[in-house]
Symmetry: C2
Subunit: 212 residues, 2 copies
DNA sequence: CAAAATAAAGTAATTACTCACTTTCTTATG
DNA sequence: CATAAGAAAGTGAGTAATTACTTTATTTTG
């Protein structure tokens, strides 16, 4: 009778395309799901592939996590560092970085989960190394900007720069955790400027006559 | 020849004892392992029980997680709040809380993993509710102390108390994450006072003649 | 057509939980 | 006070479900 085979017309794509689509799918899925509970079946389904086909594009799951970590690291570093470089004054650069970081997270709520999840894993997986390295670079950038701010006489020279770098990252963490508790990711962007203002109060030079 | 049955002399303990021993074993194990990878077999082994026996004391794994969350919440709240109540001056109380919290984490490095892990889970498990409630109480306590500090003229009245509460929890988070990156949990207690000093600089009233 | 991409079914390993049975503890009673 | 009986705690061997990864055969495409 009717057709024995409605040929289903699959669309084939290159491994490269599938790889980046898969990475983005993972980031997307992490917005709603604990990364450690993500199965290859669920990921493949999101990409629109059979589970088996996934392993034609990634040799194994670890390698997929590595690609995801690399993507996150690249995106985060690029976006955050590039806005920092648009500002002459170190304190303005720090603020811009802070807001850019929160904005990035607000658009990709799965990212804190991903990074924290990797850090919590035991051992020294490639993904974990990438995350750790990214955070170390980030921290160094903050310290450099703080030192620059001191030179510019916009940050008090008595500041404990290492502590200030930890507190900077902590401020972001605090916002993220608060968002996880409240469940509303979008309130992050509203709260971010208030948090940064308070943070910067801890080291701001208070000139009597500030010039714009 | 020798005995057909060395009777093995098991020691039986009450369900209550086993429950608390199990909870502590979980907290202990989380110091070295991602909570989401903890199996009932591993836990039972740590307690010194067969895997099946675990289910004589907990109806299921979720219930175990609930008990763990309750234990953590109780311990943390009790320890942190009790040191706060030993101080008249709100800023001193905040500092004591901060250091007590970090000390607690340093002695139980699995606890941040546990709490963050629960928060990241989807749904509304009992354990997640407990963690969320605990953090909400904590936050409220910080806000109350900040307000008290304003009354006592030890904290500047222009402070954004909500932001300060977020930054307070963020400072702890930042320390913890820094510890996870570095891998050394004990450096936490050294770094903690420096972080708190910087944090408190963001709202400290600066009297010209401070009296001890 | 040949190579790459995909589906679909299969496999071995892991895991939470169950079950049938044994060992220890508790307690009431002669 | 000794002891038998029942309750509680424990074991060890399952089981069904899940999961990362494989294999085989089919479809698309340059």
């Amino acid at each position: 009778m009717s057709a024995n085979k409605p040929p289903a017309k699959r669309t084939y794509q290159s491994t490269e395309q599938r790889q980046s689509a898969t990475v983005e799918a993972v980031v997307q899925l992490c917005a709603e799901q604990d990364p450690s509970t993500l199965t290859t079946a669920r990921i493949a389904d999101e990409v629109g592939l059979s589970q088996g086909a996934l392993f034609k594009h990634f040799p194994n799951k670890n390698s997929l996590w590595e690609s995801v970590a690399a993507w996150v690291s690249e995106q985060l570093t690029q976006r955050v560092f590039s806005v920092a470089d648009q500002h002459e004054q170190a304190d303005k650069a720090l603020e811009a970085m802070f807001l850019a970081h929160i904005g990035f997270i607000a658009r990709h709520p799965g990212i804190p989960r991903l990074m924290l999840g990797e850090l919590q894993k035991p051992g020294n997986s490639a993904a974990k190394r990438i995350v750790r390295q990214t955070l170390a670079n980030y921290r160094q950038k903050v310290i450099s900007l703080l030192n620059l701010g001191i030179q510019q006489h916009r940050i008090t020279s008595t500041i404990d720069t290492e502590a200030a770098a930890v507190l900077y990252l902590g401020a972001i963490q605090g916002l993220v955790v608060q968002g996880m508790i409240g469940g509303d990711i979008h309130s992050l962007e509203q709260a971010a400027p208030r948090i940064f203002r308070l943070y910067s109060a801890s080291f701001q030079e208070v000139p009597d006559a500030p010039q714009t």
